[in-house]
Amino acid sequence: MTDRQSTPQDADLVALLRARDEDAFRILVERYQPTLIRTAMTYVSSRAVAEEVAQETWVGVLRGIDRFEGRSSLKTWLFTILANIARTKGVKEKRSIPFASTGTAQDESGDWLVDPSRLRGSDDPKFAGWWSSYPESWDGAPEERALGNETRALINETIDKLPPAQREVITLRDIDGWTSAEVCEALQLSEANQRVLLHRARTRVRNVLEEYLRVS
């Protein structure tokens, strides 16, 4: 079939799982469990409940695998099962739907993505909306500071504090490496909304990094 040395594809693992192959199941759990837990966190209020939802999702996978026809991707199917289980656990308040445009400088919680005082106002008609002072370069930050454990912890913490929909999108896209099409399908977002959420999430992480690298 495919290159034996390469990472097995989802479709191959699904076929093996249908044949009751334990290793295939193990690989799938290792591949998707962290993502399932993080996604479950956007539905329920505690990590313990999210872990329960993720575990029950796998039980749902086993129960349904013989009927899974592969019309949607495995990822999408996993998310559908997870959403159904999460709903039975008492879902948090409805997720907010983002505005359809990235053109706003404020996000859904009213926070500025860029401090407006950093941009020139209408008193400078030629350059209104341009920087009043440039963002500082990060080149001066020591390499270990930019890539070290402390920075990683800070980024993790920032992502954890993002509004749920932003957190979900940046996690799937930038940590898990999903394509935008996969994220849109799994989370039932339009391409435009997905980009808005990704934009806000990335900009917020950037802003936290800026604060951190500036004090170095």
Binding site: M1, T2, R4, P8, D12, L16, R18, A19, R20, D21, E22, F25, R26, V29, E30, Q33, P34, T35, E51, Q55, W58, V59, L62, R63, D66, T102, G103, T104, A105, L113, V114, L119, F127, G129, W130, W131, S133, Y134, P135, S137, A146, L147, T151, R152, I155, N156, I170, D174, I175, D176, G177, R195, L198, H199, R202, T203, V205, R206, L209, E210
Partner: protein, 100 residues
């Protein structure tokens, strides 16, 4: 390398820095129409602040991408493997194992 803002010969283009910041993700996602893309790229050539901003967004994406996934705790994995074995014992499943 970047023009002086008092230089009258400079074409500053049609985007403000606020526009540029708002469009970064659309640009990186390849979602800008061709003429918007050209306006965006022109702005980079005249604004050091935005050149730097876009670069920092790229660094951010890389840094986020460098985060590692948590490993599944052994206890959780064991529990799921048990569930798998129970399921396997109670359902017939496909007879033939496909070749991988």
């Amino acid at each position: 390398m970047f023009p002086d803002e008092n230089d009258p010969s400079v074409d500053w283009g049609t985007l403000t820095c606020a526009d540029f910041i708002a469009l970064c993700t659309d640009y990186l996602e390849g979602a800008l129409a061709l003429d918007d893309r050209a306006r965006f790229e022109h702005h980079i050539t005249v604004c050091q602040g935005c050149d730097r901003w876009l670069d920092q967004i790229r660094v951010t994406v890389e840094a986020v991408g460098g985060l590692e996934e948590d490993l599944v705790p052994a206890g959780v994995l064991d529990g799921l493997i048990h569930a798998f074995r129970d399921w396997k014992a109670s359902t017939p499943g496909a007879l033939e194992k496909p070749a991988l």
